[in-house]
Amino acid sequence: MTETKLTIALAGNANVGKSVIFNQLTGLHQHIGNWPGKTVEKAEGTLHFKGYTIDIIDLPGIYSLSTFSIEELVSREYIAVERPDLVINIVDASILERNLFFTLQLMELGTPMVMALNQIDMAEKKGIRMDHEKLEKILGIPVVPTVAIKGRGVYELLERSVEIIEKGGINPPIIKYGEEVEERIREITKLIEKIPFRYPARWAAIKILEGDEQVEKEIREISPEILSTAGKLAKEIERIHGHSCSTVITSERYEAAGKIAREVQQIVPRIRPPMSETLHTITTHKILGYPIMVLVVLSIFQSIFIFGNYTSEFLSNLLYGWEPLFEGLLGTGIVKDLVWGGIAEGVIAGVTIALPYIAPFYLILYILEDSGYLSRTAFLMDTLMHKIGLHGKAFIPLMLGYGCNVPACLGCRIMETERERLLAAFVTTLIPCAARTVIILGLVGTFVGVQWALALYIIDLLIIFLLGRLAFKALPGEPTALIMEMHDYRIPHLRTVGKQAWFRLEEFIKISFPLIIVGSLLIKLIEILNLLGPIADILSPVTVSWLGLPPITGITLIFGILRKELTLIMLSVLLNKPLPILDQAMEPVPQMVVFTLVTMLYIPCVATIAALVKEFGWKKALFITIFEVVFAILIGGIALRILSFIKIP
């Protein structure tokens, strides 16, 4: 028995509950990957319904179908060129006007559509009543009211979608612009209809009038005459309206959206502002906002550290308990050394980081994002981020970096342009992650003093700031400013949030585990082949002469590439001194300070390098890595000379 295959795409603004609907529809049958050749996420899922196998594609949340971001390009190309059987447009009922602006653009693409009028409960709380039947009549496409987080309306949504597809797909009606614009759209449409073009003709005609660079480029290759005619017509529109043609079309589209919104909604003023509004006012307050943010961030880190330390210890005790088992199976020879010391210990290293620290970190992060708090921190931190050429949203990956640099690098995708993604990722790799914090506290904090550890953090922040600023000046291009919607606070949908965190964790495992395992295998080999001494000797001009450290630290710095906190453990093993009396083999000042400083800065760990490669390619990843190694060694040597000069006891 073969089932008929259907494809349905979900499209809508950001934060309208799209991923919740995606989850409700597809349940466990999901796959998250990337769009081919793009760093844009592609979520796919399947479901079976009334004898059909339906592929659901969750398109990125966007506000328009221009060329502003890669997400917009990916979405429109998918809808216009790949042609799914149907597009479900998910709309936030409480911000109908802005959402309809996007709906009208989808309709111009001419694919069969159904609308999910989502979060009608939230709209009602804000005093907005919706006449969805009237909306359906005006738009000419089915409109299904939904409350996705409660699963309300989702079945009906699917039912009506399939119904539309079975009818052969009703094409949405055309929304007309003002006559002087419409006349010119028709003229260009006729010209485009005569050439082979992958986008719908009317849509392409509108896009040319809007000055869309990508469509213009593609048309130019086929027929440059169309462009010159269109240019002339656009000038005419500009003369009539006194604004640029793109402005005129966007205005008219918004005008139409506004008119429809006013016709179908009734606003009942509320006497008391809803809770979410009060919460917004407090958390973005000029003065109160900052201490609240610091408190939120600190309590997150505190609780993750407590949870992480406890679970990590528990897990490593449990997993290391299996060593006798391996010994029993493989004996005590070289094979066991490689399998246990290389592979198994690599896996343990990964597991004791991923589960205890990264998993809760992701979970909390997604709860914060979904609730709306992260966009408030971006609002508060915008000015500071501008100093390093980024805008407020970059604060989010930066904060992530304190937990682990890998998710932070991947998190830089929220920035709009490639340049900003790279800049943010570079800065992020310098943030002391949880592993580096372990070294700072374990070495400098314990043997030199907490105020010294704190000083290192401050020095690191200064370095980040300076390097960020330098990179900002060095990279070509102009910074983009913040334009961000701050949606109303809401209670996150736990299942969706949990799933997002899970997919991230999976991604982390896929990127980092292979490298951690290969790395630890390599190091085990070096150990077995007795190459530790020679390598330490080779590195001694740097470690001993320039940095003033014991020769064996060269080895620990190499181990640190795998996992930074390994440097601490290795230090105690190789110096043959248990951690609490490590100061007998190494002077707290300057040696420990210099060592910590170098470890803090010297290289993104192997997993972070992998994340950089995935996002930006080998060349840029290598460049960042080499730069940071050289830079760390340079700073370490300078620090040694300053510390010896001032001779602090």
Binding site: S246, S251, L384, E478, I483, M484
Partner: protein
Amino acid sequence: MELPLTALKDGESGIVTSVKANSGHGRGGGWGFQKRLMDMGLTPGTKLTVIKSAPFRGPVEVHVRGSRLALGRGMAERIFVEITK
């Protein structure tokens, strides 16, 4: 009278008259930003209300078309409005 959005006090409303490219400070400009503002609903003739600004010349929070937007300072300086009251 035409004023930049940043001249509005908290709680004041205005109608967008124009968005100027390359005026104000260097930051906040960039590619396609005018189109972006239009797409987010700040077309000429749109009514907006300034709610507040973040401190240290931070972004401006505005209410426009039923939603709440944060606009970077450099960008807000290029949006010109006529105060309604």
